[in-house]
């Protein structure tokens, strides 16, 4: 049997003391030891972004973090997003149909949350860049981008009109990457 360590993690503001194999990544600890399966495992090599969680507020890939290296850090996963109500990002993703199979969604929600907190009024190029490490094979990204922009508006306390339907199926006018 492999060596185990006992470590205390702060996940979604709650302390959890867990014994787990010493060589496990944060992704393995979250899913297998904490039972928090909202964080998905995709490529497990840093290429897809679906395992994105926030570590001390910054989006990072939990598949490439050795769990014991982040003992004591604030870890936020998709399960912590909802407070008394849905987070604006959850609302806009649901209302706009910004998820299809939904596998990439937890990672995208966490990357988007960090973006909105750092830049409350992101440009479309900012949204595209902030999500450029998160792959989605279903939606074509437009609905995701619009959902993030709409959620940012809601977080700013704006009435937040739903984006015009025409743009839902239109093309991204500002081209993010040459």
């Amino acid at each position: 049997m492999s060596e185990h360590v006992t470590a205390t993690y702060r996940v979604n503001s709650e302390g959890r003391t867990i014994a787990h194999p010493a060589h496990h990544t944060l992704l393995e600890v979250l899913r297998e030891a904490c039972g928090l399966t909202g964080t998905k495992h995709g490529c497990e090599l840093g290429e897809c972004g679906t395992c994105t969680v926030l570590i001390d507020g910054e989006p990072q890939l939990s598949c490439l973090v050795l769990a014991r290296e982040v003992e004591g850090a604030a870890i936020d996963t998709v399960e912590g997003l909802e407070g008394r109500d849905l987070h604006p990002l959850q609302k806009t993703f649901a209302d706009l149909g910004a998820a299809q199979c939904g596998y990439c969604t937890p990672g995208i929600l966490m990357a988007a949350k960090a973006l909105i907190e750092r830049k409350p009024t992101p440009t479309r190029a900012d949204v595209c860049e902030a999500l450029s490490g998160n792959l989605c094979r279903c939606t074509g990204y437009i609905k995701i981008i619009e959902a993030v922009e709409w959620a940012a508006a809601l977080c700013r306390g704006e009435s937040g009109a739903r984006p015009a339907d025409a743009s839902l199926y239109g093309v991204c006018k500002e081209k993010p990457h040459g």
């Binding site: 492999s2 060596e3 194999p21 010493a22 060589h23 496990h24 990544t25 992704l27 393995e28 495992h41 497990e44 090599l45 840093g46 290429e47 972004g49 994105t52 910054e58 989006p59 990072q60 890939l61 598949c63 490439l64 973090v65 050795l66 014991r68 290296e69 990357a111 830049k119 440009t123 190029a125 900012d126 595209c128 860049e129 902030a130 450029s132 490490g133 998160n134 993010p176 990457h177 040459g178």
Partner: protein, 345 residues
């Protein structure tokens, strides 16, 4: 789940801890900084480790000090995002910051460090595959095989240098500080790289890179152009780092380094020398760009076709020099990290 192999983990708290742990078992020990290169390599069993020394908690390795007038020192554990968010680096060393902006993706830049980027493993289409794939061809020389599949018959490995910041820092004449139980030494960054895809660094396995030192920025202009398939995530297929100084309209110093065309960042010395004492006219730039193709000797082991990559060396050197000369781009300009630069202000 693709799991890491088991290893003994040493969470170093001081540099002393780290160099001692390395000296105990240099062959079996690996350092981990951000882990964005080491963990994928261990997961796919490209690399193995009896023990891993974590540098994350070593005090004093993260941070940016100094200023462009006197020179800037960057700790090896400084993240790529820290660099993008540093206004004085953007002002003084735009070529370097652009190179950093073009690395991987925002999530990876929050994790990856500059030291890790400079010590990044070399890459090859016959190597960066899963283990079953590699096993099916009997591996290659970079692992336990005895053939180089890119150049069968070659006695060496041609895996490519894949760090974006390396060519940019070479063109800026940066230095790196290396620490071991034997003490400290400072070397020009170009001397950190070896002409071999397997032993790609000249530093010994007992040495830790602790600092990157940039000289005074002066009036130097610099830029970095990166060729890749997608606008994010992808490693460079070509990187062009250029730094030059003009004195009354003529070029008084010039450095051009090419990344991803060889196992180390290649200096395009004839191209740079051609610019000296001349004005940056369209013709002079085109001549230099032609000369830059010679030292680039890419083999067919990255994305895109070999012939096109060779042609692009000329186009990218031409484009980078035109940008520094203030000339309009010839074609629709490509984007080299602009998105990240706008996001991380």
């Amino acid at each position: 789940m693709m799991r890491l192999p088991t290893f003994t983990y040493v969470g170093a708290k001081t540099l002393e801890d780290a160099v001692t742990a390395l000296a105990d078992d240099p062959e079996g020990t690996r350092l981990v900084a951000g882990g964005t290169d080491l963990w994928p390599n261990l997961k796919r069993r490209h690399q193995g480790a009896r023990s891993v020394v974590g540098l994350r908690r070593v005090a004093g390795l993260r941070g940016i000090t100094g200023d462009p007038a006197a020179g800037v020192t960057i700790g090896a554990m400084t993240t790529l995002t820290d660099i993008l968010r540093c206004p004085m680096l953007r002002d003084g060393y735009p070529g370097f910051v652009r190179a950093v902006a073009s690395i991987s993706s925002p999530v990876l830049r929050n994790m990856g460090t500059l030291g890790g980027n400079l010590c990044l493993d070399t890459r090859c289409t016959y190597y960066n595959q899963n283990e079953e794939w590699r096993q099916s061809i009997g591996y290659c020389m970079k692992e336990v095989g005895d053939t180089c599949w890119v150049a069968p018959g070659s006695p060496r490995c041609w895996a490519v240098q894949a760090s974006d910041s390396a060519p940019a820092l070479c063109s800026l004449d940066a230095h790196v500080v290396l620490h071991s139980t034997a003490g400290e030494r400072v070397i020009p960054i170009a001397d950190l790289y070896n002409d071999d895809g397997i032993v790609y660094l000249t530093k010994s396995r007992t040495e830790i890179l602790t600092e990157i030192r940039l000289g005074p920025a002066g009036a130097r202009r610099s830029t970095y152009w990166k060729l890749r398939r997608r606008g994010s995530i992808d490693f460079p297929v070509l990187g062009v780092g250029v730094a030059l100084e003009l004195d009354g309209g003529t070029v008084s110093s010039a450095k051009i380094h090419l990344g991803a065309v060889h196992s180390f960042p290649v200096a395009a010395t004839a191209a740079a020398a051609h610019l000296l004492g001349k004005s940056l006219t369209e013709d002079v730039i085109a001549e230099a760009a032609e000369l830059a193709k010679d030292p680039a000797s890419p083999l067919d082991n990255t994305d895109f076709t070999l012939q096109w990559r060779r042609r692009m060396v000329g186009s990218y050197v031409d484009g980078a020099l035109r940008e520094l000369a203030g000339l309009p781009p010839k074609a629709t300009p490509s984007v080299h990290g602009e998105g990240a630069l706008a996001l991380e202000v």
